[in-house]
């Protein structure tokens, strides 16, 4: 059996924000073709993990390491990570007033590409991606996330993911606040990218997993992964909540 290519390796990671420790000793490895899901309560450090992997300047790694495609990640700035094939679907994508979606997408795809972008090829790719996400063409002339509903924002995130074809896709609560149709479309985007990439999906809800089949489900509490299982674990969490997993639950009761 051929070993799958390693995409992301996190070892004993400790992360602080303004001196407050958020992640306290987290380790995980994601190989090509694997979908990993992280679940946990608000404040467990899930979004911090996604942001720190993408290189957000506000987060400080105090201990441990992150390797991307077997190379240490520390020295790479945010845009270099993007150009190396990393992608973060934001929980709250920023509004960029006055910048049209079409212009933004083209420039973004150009920026991660080594070769000059061919107009016709890009348009074809764009049309296909938009069709598969059931998006209206009129989105292209709107300003990036300006006046977008929650669902529209998440669809635009998925469109960017399809166009940028990441090697590592980090999805930070991409499913939050979506109706059934939007959820189905977001799942479609993930499933399109997943076979060639490593995927890390952060979510609160099991319902996305009706459409996306994870290989691993991790439970994060207090900045650590305290339990890892298969897709069934998500169902169990949905039914039982997180209390039963609290390491100190018994001691404090």
């Amino acid at each position: 059996m051929v070993m799958a290519r390693e995409i992301l390796r996190i070892e004993n990671l400790h992360v602080s924000v303004e001196g407050t420790p958020i992640i306290r000793g987290l380790s995980m490895t994601i190989n090509q073709g694997e979908i990993h899901v992280i679940m946990g309560r608000n404040g467990a450090g899930k979004s911090t993990l996604a942001n720190v992997v993408m290189g957000h300047p506000a987060y400080e790694i105090t201990e441990g390491s992150i390797h991307y495609c077997s190379e240490p990640l520390e020295e790479l700035s945010v845009f270099e990570r993007a150009r190396a094939g990393m992608f973060l679907s934001f929980q709250y994508p920023a509004v960029i007033p006055g910048v049209q979606v079409g212009t933004f997408l083209k420039k973004s795809v150009q920026s991660v590409s080594d070769e000059p972008l061919k107009g016709r090829a890009f348009r074809k790719q764009l049309n296909e991606a938009m069709a598969s996400l059931e998006m209206e063409k009129s989105v292209l002339s709107r300003y990036v996330n300006d006046g977008f509903s929650g669902g529209e924002k998440k669809r635009l995130e998925m469109l960017q993911m399809l166009l940028l074809k990441p090697t590592l896709a980090l999805l930070d609560e991409t499913d939050s606040g979506l109706d059934i149709d939007a959820l189905r479309i977001v799942a479609k985007g993930i499933n399109q990218v997943a076979p060639d990439a490593g995927c890390l999906i952060i979510t609160h809800y099991q319902r996305l997993l009706d459409h996306v089949k994870p290989h691993f489900v991790h439970v994060m509490i207090d900045g650590k992964i305290i339990k890892t299982g298969g897709a069934d674990l998500a169902l169990e969490l949905e039914a039982k909540g997180y209390d039963w997993l609290e390491p100190t639950a018994g001691a404090e009761a």
Binding site: F79, Y92, A94, V112
Partner: protein, 468 residues
């Protein structure tokens, strides 16, 4: 280019110049005799000489403005300015006849290409006088008069005499007096009744001589029911001593006429750009100023509209970019003098690297002007904490039926925006460039396409190497 000049210019994009090939050049400094000599050299009618002399006397007596950036204004040494310079003897109509070194300058600015696509006619201002002037056949066929101002005065003195100085009198301010005394070049346009000029009519302006003052004078008259869009853009090379640009633009929109006047000024960072722009809108007429200020050391410019006829409308859309050592003191003035007149003012400014941008606005509603509406929006974007942005709005409202709105905002580029864009592959500089272009977009979309593209490129260049 001398080493000294290169030191000053640095890598400024348009920091090049051709050797001066002036055939006639006055000594520096100003006197009544210099004013008379300019007029005589141009073979002007006596009434124009008289206007110039009267304006000169007013200029001498008139004090410097005691508002705006007085400190910078007082740096201007009027004795160190050349008031007239002619770089080629005749005004050219054919590009082939334009002197080679002058052509090179325009080639580097991309003007011939621009002409093919967009130009309804070209008046290229090289130093003090137009050297190249072409009018598309369709313009001529429509009966539109489009000349450089000197030729306009020669060919149609009766029209010039009727309107010159009626919108901006020489006594308006010190710099309108100076311009009236020594004006040279600029454009003269008359659009006959009910004629619609479909293509934007354009002129490029350029300073290319050391210490060269540029005092162009533009007069546009749109007769009843007609419309025209005039576009003016300029770039200038940088020199070690300060340059003075002091233009006057007068617009007259007759009943039901529409004039749009678009400008992007990109004077090099040592130029004082002190310009008086004003239009009169008669009954149901519209005047629109689309005004972009990117360059210069100090700009003081407040495009104005006098809404004189019932139902007239004014639109002023302006942007200002103030980088290191720059002060953009710009804004708008609208005077509602008649009932049911309306106005919209949108002002957007960016300050960076210690630059300063000020919005100075005047909105007046006279007692007899019933049912007026006006909306003013001022947005400022600060790219760092060393920069400065101020707003000086003045409102004089003498009629209680007026419906007025005023919104102002100051914002900074957020870390979230930068992180988002960088996570999509943009460098920090590229991300800033996108944000800045987006901020100016309500202005940029009003420009002809090539100007919009040029402005976006210019702003992206401004963002390069700027992030420490």
């Amino acid at each position: 280019m001398s080493d000294e000049a290169r030191d000053v210019i640095g890598d400024y994009r348009f920091g090049f110049h051709d050797p001066e090939n002036s055939t006639i050049r006055f000594d520096k400094g100003l006197s009544e005799q210099v004013v008379r000599d300019i007029s005589e050299l141009k073979n002007e009618p006596e009434w124009m000489t008289d206007i110039r002399v009267k304006a000169y006397r007013h200029f001498v007596e008139r004090k410097m403005p005691d508002w705006g950036n007085c400190h910078a204004l007082n740096e201007i040494n009027f004795e160190n300015v050349t008031y007239f310079l002619r770089s080629s003897d005749a005004t050219e109509k054919d590009w082939d006849d334009v002197p080679e070194d002058i052509k090179n300058t325009f080639d580097r600015l991309g003007i011939p290409d621009a002409e093919q696509k967009w130009l309804g006619g070209v008046t290229a201002q090289y130093e003090s006088e137009a050297v190249y002037h072409s009018i598309r056949e369709d313009l001529e066929a429509q009966g539109v008069l489009f000349f450089d101002m000197d030729s306009g005065l020669r060919e149609h003195p009766e029209i010039v005499k009727k309107y010159f100085g009626t919108v901006v009198p020489h006594s308006d301010n010190k710099f309108s007096a100076l311009n009236t005394a020594v004006w040279s070049g600029g454009s003269f346009i008359y659009v006959p009744k009910n004629v619609h000029v479909e293509m934007p009519v354009q002129a490029y302006f350029r300073i290319n001589a050391k210490n060269m003052g540029q005092f162009e004078r533009t007069l546009i008259i749109a007769d009843e029911g007609s419309s025209i869009h005039y576009v003016e853009g300029c770039t200038a090379p940088t020199y070690s001593t300060d340059s003075l640009h002091s233009a006057v633009v007068e617009l007259i929109a007759m009943k039901g006429a529409k004039i749009r006047y678009s400008t992007i000024q990109n004077w090099s960072a040592n130029v004082f750009n002190l310009v008086t722009k004003r239009g009169v809108a008669h009954e149901r007429a519209t005047i629109e100023w689309v005004d972009g200020n990117i360059g210069s050391k100090l700009t003081m410019k407040y495009p104005a509209v006098l809404l004189k006829g019932e139902g007239a409308h004014a639109e002023v859309i302006s942007v200002a970019y103030a980088g290191a050592g720059q002060h953009q003191d710009a804004g708008a003035k609208v005077h509602h003098l008649a009932p049911n007149t309306t106005s919209n003012i949108l002002s957007k400014s960016i300050s960076k690297n210690g630059g300063r941008s000020s919005y100075r606005g005047m909105l007046q509603v006279t007692p007899k002007a019933d049912g007026c509406r006006s909306k003013i929006v001022c947005d400022a974007l600060m790219l760092d904490s060393d920069s400065r942005s101020d707003t000086y709005p003045t409102m004089e409202v003498g009629n209680s039926s007026a419906d007025l709105e005023h919104e102002a905002s100051v914002s900074k580029v957020s870390g979230d925006q930068l992180f988002y864009l960088m996570s999509r592959g943009f460098t920090e500089e590229q991300a800033m460039g996108l944000i800045v272009n987006g901020f100016f977009e309500p202005f940029t979309r009003e420009l002809p396409m090539e100007y919009a593209v040029e402005l976006n490129k210019l702003l992206e260049l401004e963002m390069e190497g700027s992030i420490g």
